[in-house]
Symmetry: D2
């Protein structure tokens, strides 16, 4: 069996979660998120973000979170602004459009949006009422390319959105990885202050499933629960999500897991860099894109699974390596040794 | 802590499922339902229904299953026919309409649809193109009232649908309970033969979450997977659903669990019947609706949780009791004794 | 050629409208409703309803008006309340549901909604967030059965809606006929005061096409124009609608046309009543539903076109007769004489 | 009053249409497109395209036609491919997305799509089921930039679409102008042979309103009428559309009107070319984009209305001039003389 660096959702979940599921299994609880575990987990999250009047909802996955948040916020003629690499644009089978909303796409090499990217979009959408109205800015942190926002960047973006009557929504499927990156100067509470709504990804950070949607903007909180149910996302046994986030948010387990993923990726990055390897983008989270000789790629692929991301030239291609909460030293060291020709 | 007869999703899951999750937890698997467990579970289901070319998909819950199936099948101007008690009509926050489709409602005391119920609906929808086109018949088995279809009834309905170019879709959130009812003459393979698409409910029968959608009709199979993803229902860790259905479908665990729920309900039903209690409807599954004196209801509610379903007259009300895979003799006997005034 | 009493849109338009189209035909004007005619027509309407800050939009037809208004007002999980006879329920091919919204139906023999009809609907939709949220009450005046609201009835309904946070929307496809009915005590300005949004039907009252949507509620005015465009309802040559409403709203032509339609219907009603004919409902607008002997129906149908509406018993059926702005004395008298056996 | 070259829908309609409306005004006819005029007009169109089993539907405008056709054809997860200049992408307030479908955009300077443009889109949408499925190619002829397809180009595109299971839909809002362009080698019947569905624009070619949707593909014909009604596009007085297309399609009036528009544009183009003016694109229809000195633009704008389309450099800008069926020699000559400094 080859070790897989294909993604961060290859394994089950952190063992502590399973223990907790076992321990509380036969405890009878109210359904649909009204269970005690969900309530406690929501309180923990609100403490962590230091916003007591935020609303927290647990749903099963990222696409679901994205379509619920966006369709809940926008009126029929309003649209989303996203970097062209945005998950909602390329990897969700038109889930957002299926709820009736256009996504305006901005080409960005690093997958990050700045006010200067958004201004021309606003300027070219002034032919009222013949064009959609841009109303929500969708960003991912870390992005689909592994890059992250600095505090200054997010503050600027947040201020710009407020000044332009735009909502700011952060897809945090890998928010743990972003916040625990060695170069990050953002904390979880900053995210809550600077966005109108965001989510904290569990699926890619040690949970069996689950994303915690946090609605900070009071206006957007109104009746949000209806959308969760209408879109088929309200689990009867909401305890399954509650128990998981309760475990993850206690004692900083969530951040430890993300940090491990980042560190393992950085080990590989550093080892390859030392050997002169270039990278498609300079990332400090759990996704790295080394540009390798095709022959080496072939050797590596005999022992490891990963995606060949992009052909660079006749001899070179970038591969994508993703590490997870569970990626251990053995796999990482073996990868490096194989690369170095030591295995 | 009072024992709850409020529903069949108060507890976690059958312990065997948790054991299996534990055992396979760190096994790396492909995402999005391409894992080995899901594949095996699908094969098991196809063997059980004796239809090798059926398509099987696992999703998280009933509302999700309903909206995916219906929106996948219907063209924009086509609509659903449902009994007025249908879950899609009253309990899903307009999830079906949110995908663009009207539901035509038929008042039926027992929650079951027969050809004679549907004929007038077809006859009153002939003003083309000014009316929606009825195209799919939605039935639940067991129904929201705990009643079930006989083989003859389902055969007639199926033949009628075929003759009238209607698709037949069975919501099987409690299909296990229907099939293991002491009065049922239907088997799982019959359901596959007689419907175009149906699902096998896990959430209400011992799983943490999960419904298995089975698409029998070849035409409806085409591209079905796209809808699952688009509606946000494709779990990254599809293994979670695969492992559960693998456990449930092995060694008839699924049917044993449902049978237990039914039997416990029947024990209460019989004990109360012996004491002359009347029931709102004559059910043989895990939902019963005894009509009790309000004073007795008050006494019972001190020890047990349940819903008061319907006021019958000044002194009497029907309550709803739901038993689950995990309802044990202790709770049932205590309930009966309390009713009998022995406790 | 038989004279048709089938509906009020069999002919073209009032000749004055064609004259005006001819006169202004080659005048170059801005498109999309920004033409001078539309502006003047909107001012006229605002003067007539005595609400200077209302917003007025012209669209092509009733289904279009209904779907634009409703989809503009409601958030995804909100729904409409309508009498079961409502045009949106039976005659618009699911147009409202196609925009994502459920319609809750209330059986009413006369097609009119009162607070007492709505209260139980509100009471049975309290299971948050598992049910749709009732938010808009849809009424027609005159109704699909030709009945009308009294001032008192509309005031009560309006107050009830305000008290319950419901929007009140009046489908005025035949509002002219309602207001000019001999028993009406409502004026156009009352409608504007008592509803959040309504429309003034042109198509069924002498225009080639066109309904004037009037948005009174300031909150609902915001960005309304976007929905008109998005739903394909913004005519490039908006002048066509502007010119027509300019003609209709000048010198009370609109009300004269409706009054003529009503009067001709009343002539037939009175003549038949004198002969002892019963009616399905007691209407005072341009729709009447006499219950006639099948033999007489056959005789009449040799000379006139109309719908046989409902079988009453073996010998009797109700027919529907609709008169229009253009129905003249000759046709009416001939109908009466034929009925009387004088022809 | 300045003469306007802003668009081709500034005036009313061709006088012959008004005469016909006048002549037939009081003739009673069936509603909803079942009138004699509509039937005759449809027959005429079928004769003109030489496809007797095509289905023809009249609707009010281009956005309406686009959203009806596309939402009728596509299943929920399927999407449209369009040039970035496509009207559906930029000028319809997200009308297509509002029906649930994504539009994939291809940057093309001339607004035309070739197989080589589409191939990479197909290749980059193979991650089933995580991406939308491209299913329909949307082209305009003439395009939003005034360019047109040659017969060879359309044949290649049509063959490519067939080979790749893509539907080909032509937006013919200005199809008359395309077909009567001095460089066109396409005829109306070719369009019918080479597309699955297209429409023939009336609004921009002498009608008050109206586009004739022609569905050639038998599969797409099924139940198409329901969508027209559901989207609010079925006019009660369908005669208004029937009479207009009857006039336009008789004696080639439709093509004469388009030819006049083209010829007047070409006169200006030629006159300006002779003086050395460059154009943004080399068009042979009724849209031209001369690049002029800002000072000349200012002089011209004192006498004429037109859009300044694009800033080219400090001194030069492209303007857009659109001529119509009604643009006469006087206006054209005056424009040329003004340009030449002779006025």
């Amino acid at each position: 069996m080859k070790f897989s660096f294909k993604n961060d959702y290859s394994e089950g979940c952190h063992p502590q979660i399973l223990e907790s599921l076992l321990r509380d299994n036969l405890d009878q609880q109210a359904g649909y998120g009204e269970d005690d575990y969900s309530k406690k987990a929501k309180d923990l999250i609100k403490n962590n973000i230091e916003v007591q009047d935020a609303d927290v909802y647990f749903v099963s996955g990222g696409t679901q979170a994205n379509l619920i948040v966006i369709s809940s916020i926008l009126r029929p003629y309003q649209c989303v602004i996203s970097a062209a690499t945005g998950h909602i644009l390329n990897n969700e089978t038109g889930a957002i459009e299926a709820t009736g909303h256009k996504i305006l796409s901005i080409e960005k090499e690093d997958g990050k949006l700045f006010p200067s990217d958004i201004i021309p979009v606003l300027e070219s959408h002034q032919n009222i009422p013949h064009q959609v109205m841009p109303k929500l800015v969708y960003v991912s942190n870390s992005t689909e390319l592994g890059t992250i926002y600095t505090k200054k960047e997010l503050e600027d973006l947040s201020a710009f959105c407020k000044a332009n009557n735009l909502y700011l929504f952060m897809d945090g499927a890998r928010l743990g990885h972003a916040l625990t990156s060695e170069i990050s100067d953002l904390e979880l509470k900053d995210i809550a202050q600077l966005t109108d709504v965001f989510y904290l990804g569990g699926t890619k950070n040690g949970a069996l499933l689950g994303e915690a949607i946090i609605v900070n903007n009071k206006i957007l909180q109104e009746d949000f629960a209806f959308n969760i149910k209408q879109k088929g996302a309200l689990l009867a046994k909401g305890r399954l999500l509650g128990i998981q986030f309760l475990e993850l948010m206690q004692n900083d387990l969530y951040f430890e897991l993300a940090k491990n993923a980042n560190q393992q990726a950085m080990k590989i990055k550093n080892a390859l860099s030392e050997r002169g390897v270039q990278f498609l983008s300079d990332t400090y989270t759990n996704q790295i894109f080394p540009i390798l000789d095709n022959q080496i790629i072939e050797v590596l692929s005999e022992k490891f699974e990963f995606y060949v991301w992009k052909k660079v030239d006749e001899n070179l291609s970038a591969i994508r390596l993703i590490t997870s909460w569970n990626t251990n030293n053995t796999a990482v060291e073996e990868f490096i040794k194989t690369f170095n020709g030591e295995l």
